[in-house]
Structures are given as C-alpha cells and as structure tokens.
Assembly symmetry: D2
Homo-oligomer: 278 residues x 4
Amino acid sequence: MERKILLTDCPDETGLIARVTGICSRHRLNIIKNTEFVDNQKSRFFMRTVLDGEFTDDFLAEVKESLPESASIRLVTSCRKRLVIMVTKEIHCLGDLLLKNYAKTMNFEIAAVIGNYNSLRELTEKFSIPFHLVSHEGLTREEHCRQIMKVIDAYAPDYIVLAKYMRILTPEFISAYPNRIINIHHSFLPAFIGAKPYEQAYNRGVKIIGATAHFVTEHLDEGPIIEQDVIKVDHNFTASDMAEAGRDIERMVLDHALNYVLDDKVFIYGNKTVVFRN
Amino acid sequence: MERKILLTDCPDETGLIARVTGICSRHRLNIIKNTEFVDNQKSRFFMRTVLDGEFTDDFLAEVKESLPESASIRLVTSCRKRLVIMVTKEIHCLGDLLLKNYAKTMNFEIAAVIGNYNSLRELTEKFSIPFHLVSHEGLTREEHCRQIMKVIDAYAPDYIVLAKYMRILTPEFISAYPNRIINIHHSFLPAFIGAKPYEQAYNRGVKIIGATAHFVTEHLDEGPIIEQDVIKVDHNFTASDMAEAGRDIERMVLDHALNYVLDDKVFIYGNKTVVFRN
Amino acid sequence: MERKILLTDCPDETGLIARVTGICSRHRLNIIKNTEFVDNQKSRFFMRTVLDGEFTDDFLAEVKESLPESASIRLVTSCRKRLVIMVTKEIHCLGDLLLKNYAKTMNFEIAAVIGNYNSLRELTEKFSIPFHLVSHEGLTREEHCRQIMKVIDAYAPDYIVLAKYMRILTPEFISAYPNRIINIHHSFLPAFIGAKPYEQAYNRGVKIIGATAHFVTEHLDEGPIIEQDVIKVDHNFTASDMAEAGRDIERMVLDHALNYVLDDKVFIYGNKTVVFRN
Amino acid sequence: MERKILLTDCPDETGLIARVTGICSRHRLNIIKNTEFVDNQKSRFFMRTVLDGEFTDDFLAEVKESLPESASIRLVTSCRKRLVIMVTKEIHCLGDLLLKNYAKTMNFEIAAVIGNYNSLRELTEKFSIPFHLVSHEGLTREEHCRQIMKVIDAYAPDYIVLAKYMRILTPEFISAYPNRIINIHHSFLPAFIGAKPYEQAYNRGVKIIGATAHFVTEHLDEGPIIEQDVIKVDHNFTASDMAEAGRDIERMVLDHALNYVLDDKVFIYGNKTVVFRN
C-alpha cells in the first residue's frame, strides 16, 4: 500500500473538508494526517491530506468533481526529491546539504552542484556528487544563465537550491522553474534587502541578525518567504563576526525550509506561503 | 448565529474526519477551523472543530452515534471563562492576570483571588476583584484546603489558577476539580522538581532556566504539561537573579498555557496533553 | 559606604584600564564589576566600573587627568530613576510599567503619565500616579509638544518613555531631552519603518515579528537601538493576531531596554549603542 | 608581535584588576579585551585578558608575585587546538566537526577519530583524517578504555570530544584527561539523566527538548555545564522525531561549547563554569 499526499487549494466554501474526506472514506483510504487552513481575508481554502491505501484512477477525478472548478488539486507521492544546488564560494550551506545527502536524513538526493567558481569542487567530489563549473567570466548575464539552465535541465531536478549563490538570475531563468527555486538570504527580510546585509546590520547597530529562506521570483529578495529565524548579537560583533554567526542560522533556516518544501507542506499564493509545519 | 467548538477524543479508526465533518455539513454548519491529531502509539484520535451556524439538539446526538461508544465528545460555547486565582506573596503572575482581566485582552474574567497571606490584597482590590484571605496558620492542611474549597465553590469557576501559590494541596482538593487546576512551576520540569528550583539551578550551574505550566494531579509537579519555555542565563546570575529573570518567563508561560486552555485547545490523556496551538 | 558607577568613554590607547583601576585602587575603592569594550573600527574605548567605598572629590579629578582630554567621564550613583511615561491608548506597556513601579522590582519610579487621550487615566490613577491629558486636538504639532514639555519639565524626570505613544515628536521636543527619550517600536527595525508595521508584516508574509527599543532622535525610527527581540508567527496569524502577539514582545523588549538604561549599562555613540548586558 | 591570553583565577581581594593591568601596562602590552567576574558567594575572582605585544619571561613572574599565593595563572597562546574525536554510530556531530575542520572556520584541527564501530570510517576518511576502530567486543570496560587511551596519547591532543560516543568511560580514563574531555549530552540536563532521554521526554510529554555540552567528570552526566540550548516540540513529535529534532540542537550546542573552550574563554571551578561568551 502506497502513501500519498493530496494537496487542495481552492476558493473557500462550506462543506469542503466533508466532501474531500468523504471521498477518501468511500475509497477506503485512511487519513494519516489532515491539516487545513482558510485565509478569510482572501476567502481561500488550503488542505493537506496524507493518505494510506490503494488508489484508483477515479479517486482524483471524484475529488476534482466535488470541488470548485478553479481548484488546484495535486496528488503527490511522498518520495525523495531531486535537487540541483547552485553555489559561489561559501561552504557552510553546501557542506550541510552534502552531509545530509550522505546520511540520508532528509527527504532529498543531490543530483549535482553548479558553481560559478571552482572553490567547492573538491568538497562536492569527496561525496561523489558531480560538480559543474559554469563561470560567468566573459559572458553576459543572459548567456551565463542559459549555460546553467542547460546543465540543470540535464538532471531534471524537482527543485533548485541557491545555497549562497551570489549572482542575480535572469527573468528567463526564473520563469523556467516557477515555484521551484529556493534561496537562502543572509538577513531577516525585508530588512537589509540587497548586498552586504551584515555590513548594513553592523552599521545600523542591530541587536539581532537573521536569515530568510524564500522562493525566488523576478523581484529580487521579495519572493514568498518559507522560513525565517534570528540570533542575538551585540556591540562585540564586527560585521564579519555577524557574518560568521549568521552562517549557523542560514544553514538551519535553509534546512527547515527544505524540510517543509520537500515534504509537500508548502502552498504558495499571492506572494505568501502557507506552511503546515507539522 | 452562534460559534461553538466540537471536541472529539476517541479510539482511532478509518473515516472519523469524514463522519464528523459530514454531519456538520448536513447540518449546514460552517467549519471555521479543523485541527486533528492521531497518537499512533496509543491509536487515539483528537479533533477540534470550530463551527458557525444554527445548532439543533440532534446534531450532537448524531455525532455521538457516528463515533465509537467510548468516545468523549463535547460541544462547548466559545466564551469568557471564569477563574479563581490562588496566590501566596509573589506579585508578577497575579499582576499580569489582573491587567489582562482589566484590559479584556484574554479569554477570561477573574471571579476572585484567594491568598494565604494578605500581601496581594491591596493590588487585587485596586481592580475591584474580591480578595479572600484564607490563612493556613493553626490549621491542618486538610482543614485549610477545605476552607479554600468553600470559597472557591461559592464562585463556581471554570478553572482554578495557582499563580505562585506555594503550598501543597490535598488529594481531596485536587480530585474536587479534575483537569481544572493549572499551576505555574518555576522550573523546566522535570528538572528541579520540588522546592527552591532556582537555588538548585544555580548550584548545578545551568545555562538555561525555564518555567512549566501544567495541570495539577495528585503527583506533585508531575501533572500533564501544557506549556514550557526557557531563557538563557550565565555565571553572572546569582540564585536570586535567576528567580528575578524567571519571573518574566513564568508569567509568559502561564499566559500562553491559559490562552490554550481557555480557548478549548487542550486535550488531556494519560499524563500528557495535546495542545492545538493554532 | 556608597556604591557608584564610573562610566568612561574616550579614544582608545594603551594602558587605559590600568590607569583607571589603578586610581580606584589607590583610593581604596573596591571594584565590584568592571566591563570594557573597544570598538576597533572607531578606536573608541568604553568602560563601566561599579565601585564600593568612600569617594573623595579628587577621585574624579584624578581619573579625568589620567585620560585623553576628549574623554567623557561620569560618576553616577546607582539609584532609582524618575520616569515620565507618554501614552496614547494601548494598555500593555503602561500596565506592565505601573505594576513594576508598584512592586518596586525595577530600578525606576514613575513620576507621571501623559496621554493624548484619556483612555489610560483610570488605570494610571488606580496606582495613585498623576495622569495628565494633553490632547492634540486643535493644536499644531509644535504647540502640542510644547504643552507636553511643560508638563514633563515640572517633574524633572531622568528619562521619558514612549510606551506606545503614537504621534511624531517635534525636533524641538527631541533636542530638549537628548539621549533621554526611549521608544518601543512595534517591529524589528529597520524592517517595517513607519506606520502599521503589523499590516506590513502580514502583507509580506513574514514568519517572525519583532520589537525594537531605541533612543529617539530626529530621524523617525532611526535612533540608536538598545534592544530587540522576536517571536515566530505563521500563516494562521492575521494582521491583528500579529499585533496581539507583538504586545508580549514589545513589553518584554521595553522592560529589558529600561533595565539596561536605568542601570547605566548603555553607552551611545554615533547612531549605535554599547550595552553591557551583565 | 604575538597575541596571548592571560587567565587569572584566584581568591578575590581589592585591587586585583589594577595590579594585573598595571603590570601589563608597564610591560607595554596592549589589552585587546579584558573580561572579569567575581563569584561573591565563593569570593573568587576570574579574569581573561587578551594581550598584544612582546612578552618577556619576567612578565608572568611579576603577575604571579602580585597575586595571592593560591592563584592559578596561565598565559596561553591563541592557537588552533588539536582534537581527538570519539564516536559511536551517529553522524551529525562528527560530520559538522569534519566540515568545520575542512573549512577551517573554527579554532581546531582534528588529529584523529576513534570509533567503537566502523560506521563513521568512510566519512572520516573522505576528509583524510585517520580513523581508528577500537571495538569494545570481548573486552572489559577497563581494557577497552585503555586501548582507546593508547590511541589518544599517540596524538597528544589538547581536548577529547565525545561526539555522541555512547559508552561510559572508566575513572582511570577520565582522570587521565582532567578538564579536557567534552561531551554533548542529548537532553537539557539535569532533566533526563542517563540513557534514552528522548524516550523519557516523550513519555513525560514535555514541550521543549534540549542539549547540554559539559566537561566529563567521574559522575555521569554531572560534570560542569558549558552550554545548553533547547527547541520547542509538541504532541506531533514521536520519541524518534524528538531525537531527529534534537540533532540540530546537539550539533549547535557542541559547536558553541567548543568555540568557548578552544578560545580559552572557560574557567572551571567547583562543578560549574565561568564562560566569557564575548
């Protein structure tokens, strides 16, 4: 018997839970876990239903028929997702992902790593993961992004993770992987948008620094936020101490965000997310 | 139209969500929020369903009929709960509750305060809440508890809150208010059970101190935990600094626990709780 | 024997600690606690020295002589500070301060409360603290601020605390009390500067909300930050839930900031602070 | 010019800071950072002084002469410490340390890894670190510990880190490396001492789980605590989910504790520590 996850996202109306769970019941599917949320401001309904049992083709058809026409319904199989990781030179996020890939403690496998420098090749190859150098030198941003896309597409990943990839992506690149690019930003967005957030934080004299994992959209640092966290700092921290301290929190926030996304616990709507953490 | 909360707690089996939400739907009750949890180890099902609509007598009967015989089902009206607060001499938790009662920002009204000293009479009466001194001097524990019970029962409270009440209660007292007595304990239980937890924490040289809100059972400091939180300390903290720092966290943990309990978000089973925080 | 705090703030050079502590030693003053910090970027030295003993007039003169000419040196007596609190309508920060004033658990006494509405008069007067209504109706901002200044000045407070005072102050007002006005801002600055931060946070879909206590300067929400903290939120929080959840963190951040300021643990320089938390 | 750290630990008396910093000054040593703490209960003085300059032999002699006879004074050179790591089967703490060793972002180099199983050999050797299997099979605890000691002593490490080493060490082993063995314990000590803390935590229904890094003494789980931290859990967490969630916090607490120890920021006295975090 297979385990699947039914993801429902539609305009809210009375009786939605009863309709969907009723169909599950009639198909003798056991509901392992059911989580729902209604955004009353936008009158929108979200539900994640983890199911155990034997699925027939008409199950999904019946669910669709029972819901408003504009509903988005997905039945996904709970499985290990394929990732391509993009990096520049910083080691901490990639290192953590390589370790978790090796230990198989998270719900993904790393298909490949792409860097615009060779700095992280050695580490990547220790773990027998292919590393591709796609240098931006001498290329326009468009050409560079297209070369990366070619590498990515050969691996057909579920998601692309920007693990401290420090260059801006083209609209063409972003629109090729809608809702499938995850970035870790080194600040508590929307504070310190843009470059050198730790220097900005130091100059402002903040007492807390943070990190933000978000989906990448055309608007730099403004995509839907998946997860955020912070740590306390004080006057003893130089800008570079803040960056150092920030590494732990970046790595942890990226981990948590990936856990949610890869377990199909995240809905995107408008520029926001619904994250069923449990 | 009234808003009610249906609380379901029964052995787990397939189709429970569909059955209950189906009945809601047939009665044209709108589900505002539905949260469920299955304890797989104990095969037990918990669900909290917030409903809007017109309730008829047969609604609850139908729900009962659809569920296993041993199910515990409650349909409660979302309303301000009545509290009696018990105190000794410390001001911080009582003060906070009096302020929130005055500001009406939480889901309770304070019917009365009972103290075994007069220390908090003045503050209580500033807010026009009756204060009852029930001194333990010259009384056996049994006699003292019975006198308190007499005062409590005159107010018929929904819950009794021990806001730093520093004496042990009798089994008779505890069994008179099953699952209705909430205590704030000044440590991260199960560490530092018993008296003088801050002194114990200081002597052990811990780097964190905490607080625990729990239901009171016959076993001292061992009732079902509702909420816990901690703050960081270091070698600069004396035992009395720890107690001082602990006050903020005690007050906040008690607040959160009360929020959950008074909004009917807490199930008790075995010696544990299910708390639907959202 | 008196306890005093020596606060030294001067350009950094070799031997500063030895010079100052040497003078203390020669004067037979016992150093209870000594904390120092050097900002290497700005080459600036900060030291807070808690002293026990009998002080003679020439002690401070000797210290001054031993330090660079531009040094700022203050010898303050550790004592309860006088506060005037300014409010609008929100109760949580004022209520907390009134309670702590009543319980005498913090290092201040509240001399008076000034509101631009009468909403908090009743609560203030319960605690026998004078409440002054200074309505802004029909007045220019300049006139309004001047009327408030008149009330404040009659009390000669050490600090003015804006406990959710929701109006902008004039440059004249601010420059009358340099480094003596403390504000609690309802967001994690510099995110969500300006009005309605919780609505901004909700619309951005952040997963964390915060609060910032800072000194007030002419630049709105941009004065030196004293303390910040955050709590986690999620999609279940409406803008008004965020505001509600934010109250706890606002109150606690303001408390911590006041503790630091009133214990003379805070140095201001440039637009930043050095806060010796211990 | 060399940078050194002077660590002073002696009975408290008036003038200690002045004496030590005065000698530094006369030797033209620049104080980069000075941190001190007095335990008033035990009347004990601790100071950490980071110094820049040219050191002569008589500097330390002069300092010694100026302090009480029983003073413990150490002048250490700030340098990368040598570690031997001991493991059983769990990967997360070792993996993190191997990565940090590779990235050279922390103040240590790993000389060798010793395991009582071969599970972590492959990972260790990827990073070109020697891995020694010392199986406990067929050996008494005493024999096993002695074999490990032989391997350790060949590397002459500064510290031994138990990165989830799951066996009890003999008193002989422990006394061979006084104040030099650091353990990461998978609970918030002193709660859940001993084996299977996550199962204990699950059964107690706690809402928070933690981790504790401590020095190892003869008393199991009772050595001086260096660092602790916690994360929130709820009823959704099984014992194994708690263990999984605990891994992040174990790894982070161990990291922080090592940072403090390896930067010579930790004093041990009685069964407690003074940790100068900044």
